[in-house]
Symmetry: C2
């Protein structure tokens, strides 16, 4: 960290002035660490990176969108545990030319939207723009829903139609975002499904995951963690998206969950006033099985090389 | 996240297998978020970035040292609040060629050393290697010590001689690390001062900060936050380091703190069996004052451009 006009200290002060401050008894931005109240039950912790040129193309979306997305990706991890967010730490490494005001503008919008205040973080120069967020959350009011609890015979649900983010990216790439503004918005400003995660728990969800990398890959993860097979009958495709985008596109941040009683699942979402979840198939007893409508479900989607 | 032989899923599994697993009732690496027990008192949260080419020169230190340093920088932020670490989230963005095994080897050593297990994180490709750690901690057993509590008349202490990391870096740069292995080690493997932070609280510390950016800058931060001036009489210089390195070098991760009773401060460290802190001066009533032994204390040190 450093000082000087236009330097890091000034940047931190400018960012801090745009963000809400702490309640009495808490310390947020500006000390070595933040001091916050502990949740009375299980503490959730998650961290997700968003990297320019990898997760976002800044020729197509704004740096404010990148800030929003970094927050949403993290909150989505909490939603997938049936948790709700408490606090975010936002660290940014990037070129000196990075528009931090815009970036933190998007972060601040998301922080307010998700009620997940930014309590700290770090800034550093770097050749590549990397936004590294970590979040705390809580399962107050109930248990965390892991990936590992699915059982043969459970129904599989998703919380909404899939592929909108991937379709939106295609439109942005071809300069036709105006053709379908909701698809472009789904890519620029994805929404984490916090209320849906809690409704899924109320519906008796046995396992849950957020669809950040694509339905095929993410259901494979649930299947491996739970020791079950997956047989899909149908996948809800967002209007304007293709079946391929729905299966492999990722970054929709809808949730997928397993539950033993499909009627109870739908009823819990109805009771919460939420869009009803869509049944996409079921868990099977053959842990090798990955089936889609008679064919094989290929785990295609997002992958980093290491 | 992705899958495939040699891909991200394999990397995560390899990292996970090298790290200790959770106690019963907790979930660590491998789900959307970690589930951990909440501390019974104040929760501390901090995040610090370490960027290759900015904070570390990988021609001079190993990528394992980078992992160690990222953990130490974060734990040091907790130490500076008089806290102790609980958990770490470790996210790495970097080229596909990054030696993740070595990097997480250094992380794992630090996690064990500081009793700060890695419970989650993220991996992504990126052009620049960035290690983004976030940590939780607790002030169980006492209050957090902020930067803002120093009062005129308080004595100022540091927990040890300064400048060793900067001197070690100079030796490494000139290929003479063998001349003074302790100095090179101080740069490669800096040590966060967790016990010292707690002793400072027991000594009645009114304000505290970790010397990550250099004594001059970091004391300026305490002075601004507390609304006091700073008058230094002497600065303890590590053997083999220069006075300039001690004042501006940073990254020693010693702590500086203010306390009203200098004898009580020394006694608390003696009672804890720790190296005794060194009195470097006092806080004054003139909030503009930055004095070193008759001259002006310039706030030189580490600065990022934004």
């Amino acid at each position: 960290m450093g000082i000087g006009p236009g330097g890091e200290r000034a940047a931190i002060e400018r960012i801090r002035s745009r963000l809400p401050g702490p309640p009495a008894g808490e310390t947020w931005i500006g000390d070595d660490a933040a001091v916050v109240a502990s949740p009375s039950e299980g503490l959730l912790l998650a961290a997700d990176l968003v990297v320019a040129g990898v997760h976002v193309d800044l020729d197509l979306v704004g740096v404010d969108d990148m800030g929003w997305k970094a927050m949403s990706a993290n909150v989505s991890d909490l939603a997938a545990m049936a948790g709700r967010p408490l606090q975010a730490l936002v660290s940014v490494a990037g070129p000196a030319s990075t528009d931090l005001d815009a970036l933190f503008g998007g972060v601040a919008e998301a922080a307010e939207h998700y009620r997940c205040p930014v309590v700290g973080g770090d800034l550093s120069n770097a050749g590549t723009l990397v936004v590294a967020v970590a979040v705390t959350g809580t399962t107050e009011g109930g248990r965390a829903v892991l990936r590992s609890g699915a059982r043969p015979g459970d129904s599989l649900f998703v919380t909404g139609p899939l592929g909108a983010s991937a379709a939106g990216l295609d439109l942005l790439r071809s300069g036709r975002a105006g053709d379908a503004p909701p698809l472009a918005a789904a890519h620029r400003r994805p929404e984490a499904r916090v209320a849906e995660g809690q409704a899924a728990r109320a519906a008796g969800a046995t396992a849950m995951i957020d669809l950040s990398d694509g339905l095929a890959i993410d259901l494979d993860r649930v299947a491996v963690a739970s020791g079950v097979g997956v047989a899909l009958t149908a996948v809800p495709v967002a209007e304007g998206a293709t079946a391929e985008q729905a299966l492999g596109g990722g970054e929709d941040y809808e949730l997928a969950f397993s539950a033993p009683d499909p009627d109870a699942a739908v009823a819990a979402f109805k009771a919460a006033g939420l869009r009803l979840p869509v049944r996409v198939g079921s868990c099977t007893g053959d842990r090798e099985e990955r089936r889609l409508d008679g064919g094989r479900l290929e785990a295609t989607g997002w992958e980093h090389d290491w």
